[in-house]
Amino acid sequence: MNDETVSQSPNLSRRTLLKAGLATGVAAGAAGAAHAGGDPLITEVQDWNRYLGEGVQSRPYGTPSEFEAHVVRRDVEWLTASTESSVNFTPLQDLDGIITPNGLCFERHHGGIAEINPADHRLMINGLVDTPLVFTMEDLKRFPRENRVYFLECAANSGMEWRGSQLNGCQYTHGMVHCVMYTGVPLKLILEEAGIKTNGKWVMPEGADASAMTRSIPMEKALDDCLVAFKMNGEALRPEQGYPLRLVVPGWEGNMWVKWLRRIEVGDEPWHQREETSKYTDLLESGKARRFTWVMDAKSVVTNPSPQAPITHGKGPLVISGVAWSGNGRITRVDVSIDGGRNWKTARLDGPSLSKAMHRFYLDIDWDGSDLLIQSRAMDESGYFQPTKTELRAARGENSIYHNNGIQTWHVKADGTVENVEVS
């Protein structure tokens, strides 16, 4: 059958898959009506129904079904000069709920993935502290620990869209975000273990990777809700997410969540490191540049339908689904428009609603088969509403790169295909 052929060929390009998917959608619909005797998948005994499958331990570390082989992170090669200092994207269009599976969390490295034996890893606290300390991983696991769910968004997420619609797919336009449950020790406990001197106003986490990533973080945030985490979604951090130890800086730009965390220095002034001067500063139209723009403002995107996830079922019931998040707390409401922002309906938020975590929304409609211009607009508990891209450009120009949380528009055509567009 057509859909089996497609699913089992891992080498097919995504685009071929999409086209084929569209075709099978139609074929399957026709099949239901055409087989008077019934669907052979029901009337005939299938192999999986007759023969034994693999036993336990055939996959000691479980992996997704072979029919999900297309659900992977993807990169855009021309974005960066080398893969070791680059980024790939979470396949949002293939996911549901609010938790991102560990293997699908987007990656952003500045010097490749450091491979560190946890027995060889150390965390040093130094600078304006009473006692500079060194911790092993085992030491850290003797502190009281907490479990918290947070989104992590790269400040450059949607950065390629400042000048207009560029990339066709929410994986590429919005996929530098993920949301997992972290297990770790509050940074406050670790800093207090060393004793913060009264003039200690800033901390600087540092990574053990080949970029020795560093950022300045104000003490107030460090003592508020930051975690030194060693688990994600219950298992050890993945190497590409900073194994064995990373910093969690809830609601703030992903670059600050230093991976392979090996040192935290306490100081009285910020350090003005490369990633907070030359990068991760927001150039405005005036030529001025904002620095220390830490918070990720409220943002949302419709993940389905979207360019990589076209409508394959024709008109009738349609689930419009998407995700929303805010660095300022909980999402309290998401509105969805199907006419390019002229009229809005409040979507249904479903699943846990946690501060600085991803939220899932749905709008269930009866699609009449006509063109749609789908948008979503998130509101957080501070009362802030996601702005339009036009509003953002009016305030900042087109060269800010970072912090593009403007409303996204998808054009759904009558044949179910979807394109990234901007509207009047």
Binding site: F135, A212, N343, F385, E419, S424
Partner: protein
């Protein structure tokens, strides 16, 4: 006789090469894999290996120098190939020991492998990716292998479960141990705009030019203009309000300390922490020179005069004032119906219609906001 052949007359004539190459390789490919980490920032091998800063090295054995079609070699490498240089055990050994001594003008910034064992091992490793290469010698004396330094440490760490967890007097939980001065000095190398953290030392523009050419120019260009998509380091003054601003050290970066700090901690890319403190002063001085911030080639930058240098764009950085943008003030219920006067028109379509990896033309796609 061309230059490389003169260098090669370390006793090896071209005619003798194939014979020599026919013998088994002395190195250990597994150990070579470790050595290759020094090369991996610029060179790829194995399945799907592509050209990076340097050419991919699959099938390098038996390949004439400078002949991969889709890689842009230095003129020197191409003419070496034209003159008959073919890569094999002997030629690779000579080249990798001191690349610029053999091929003056090669783009490869790597200084060379000093240890003979490293050379043998990395060549044996490369040979595993070349079908025409001789096999590695059976490794003898496996009862008493000669472990590399790193391996000794790992072995000790594995056998002695020493520093698993420690407790001490003081603190809230009494966990961890006191960091030693040497440990802090080894990791705390950060430098602030006020000069805090600057090590003692100095370097001149002239010294910096040599170091920069050897270590930096392969990616950043001879004049800081950037090669391909690698960062541009110089120029771009007065472009920040242009449609395509050029953000460089001279045009954008607020503080010189960031240059020193970053080069010292993370550069050269793929070989971090390999420059001395004086080297970093010299390279920083040269970057000032490339940006016309100092004009004298004899200028010497040191911890004494460092904080006297100010970068031109320092004053143009402002605090996060997003909250003052009009749409932030717009709290309260937004419009829900008839929010626009007329039916909505599409004003822009995605420019890149097919972003499937591998299907985008790099050059056509370049020029948009990147994420470096």
């Amino acid at each position: 006789m061309s230059k490389f052949l003169k260098v090669l007359s370390l006793g090896v004539s071209l005619a003798a090469l194939p014979v020599l190459a026919g013998g088994a390789l002395a190195g250990d490919p597994d150990k070579g894999a470790k050595v290759f980490k020094k090369c991996a920032a610029c060179h790829a091998v194995g399945e799907n290996a592509k050209n990076k800063v340097g050419p991919q090295l699959n099938e390098v054995f038996g390949r004439a120098a400078g002949t991969l079609e889709d890689y842009k070699y230095s003129k020197a490498m191409i003419s070496a190939g034209d003159d008959g240089l073919v890569w094999d055990d002997a030629t690779l050994t000579t080249y990798l020991e001191k690349p610029r001594a053999m091929i003056k003008g090669t783009k490869m910034a790597f200084a060379g492998l000093k240890k003979e064992k490293d050379l043998e091992n990395v060549i044996a490793y490369l040979a595993t990716f070349s079908s025409s290469a001789p096999a590695a010698e059976e490794q003898q004396g496996s009862a008493e292998p000669e472990p590399a330094e790193g391996e000794v440490q790992t072995a000790e760490a594995a056998s002695a479960p020493a520093p698993v967890s420690a407790t001490r007097d003081g603190g809230v939980f009494g966990l961890g141990r006191v960091a030693t001065e040497d440990e802090i000095a080894a990791w705390d190398i950060d430098v602030r705009p006020d000069g805090m953290g600057l090590p003692q030392g100095s370097g001149t523009v002239a010294d910096g030019e040599v170091l920069y050419t050897d270590n930096c120019a392969v990616c950043h260009g001879d004049f800081g203009e950037g090669v391909g998509r690698w960062p541009v380091l110089a120029g771009g003054q007065d472009t920040l309000t242009d449609e395509r601003p050029e953000k460089t050290i001279g045009s954008y970066w607020p503080y010189l300390s960031t240059v020193y700090d970053y080069v010292r901690r993370a550069m050269p890319y793929g070989n971090a922490r390999s420059l001395s403190d004086d080297d970093v002063y010299a390279i920083t001085a040269y970057l000032l020179y490339l940006n016309d911030i100092v004009e004298d080639e004899d200028f010497e930058l040191s911890n004494e005069n460092f904080t006297e240098i100010r970068l031109p764009n320092e004053e143009n950085f402002i605090a996060d004032d997003r909250a003052e943008e009009p749409h932030y003030a717009d709290k309260g219920d937004p419009c829900m119906s008839d929010c626009k006067d007329s039916p909505v028109e599409i004003t822009m379509h995605a420019q890149i219609l097919d972003v499937t990896p591998g299907s985008v033309d790099d050059n056509d796609a370049a020029g948009m906001g990147g994420v470096d």
